[in-house]
Symmetry: C2
Subunit: 100 residues, 2 copies
DNA sequence: AAAAGTGCTTTGAATTTCAAAGTAAATGTG
DNA sequence: CACATTTACTTTGAAATTCAAAGCACTTTT
């Protein structure tokens, strides 16, 4: 019996990216600092994972000004939501089917 | 609100190791070749992940002879079972709590 | 105006991943 | 029996990934 680990999406294997997507699934958007605090990450670490997700087309980066300061907010794209749900399905199946 | 991604066990982040553990949770032991086929992996890839799990003390490697050929079988250690369950709990919590 | 803080981005060293090549013993073939 | 091939892994190293420190362009405080 085969266990389909290859259905898991590599983009979501990393804990940070799992966390980011998880948050963006239920929050329409989230800014850099809040995300950083929620996930307890260093700046550089968050930035690189966010960029990785953007490159995959799974999240959208929006840069605007809040008063005089820059504000970067992120939101999951439609593609990202779909891919993440498929990943979770694969994960669930993997953990469920393992004994059949 | 904090999302505890750091409770996820790094040893189980990788899809291959997730698959191996998942299989060893419900099978007392599994041999190299069956595992390799179940997970659709190359030899080297399986070998390195198995070694990684052994280094963490999460699985036990047993080498014996089946007739004249060597047979390597793997089983999850008690520590491994515990760690894996804790990882799954953390995962579940992460995916569930993300909106509260 | 100098110093300190904010909000990110860049960099690069360390770690991880993975498949190709290697090894050693068993087995098949002429 | 000589040999090529297969089996059951292990070793190797190039490529990809991860992550925090340092960098940068501002803004705010003193």
């Amino acid at each position: 019996m085969k266990i389909h680990i290859h259905n898991l999406n590599k983009a979501f294997e990393n804990r940070v990216r799992l966390g980011i997507m998880s948050i963006l699934m239920v929050n329409d958007s989230m800014d850099f600092n809040t995300l950083k605090e929620m996930l307890e990450l260093t700046d550089g670490n968050l930035a690189s994972h966010v960029t990785a997700l953007e490159k995959e087309g799974y999240l959208h980066i929006k840069k605007e000004f809040a008063g005089k300061k820059t504000l970067t907010t992120y939101s999951a794209t439609k593609t990202g939501v779909k891919a993440f749900n498929e990943h979770l399905d694969a994960l669930e199946k993997l953990l469920k089917d393992r004994n059949t």
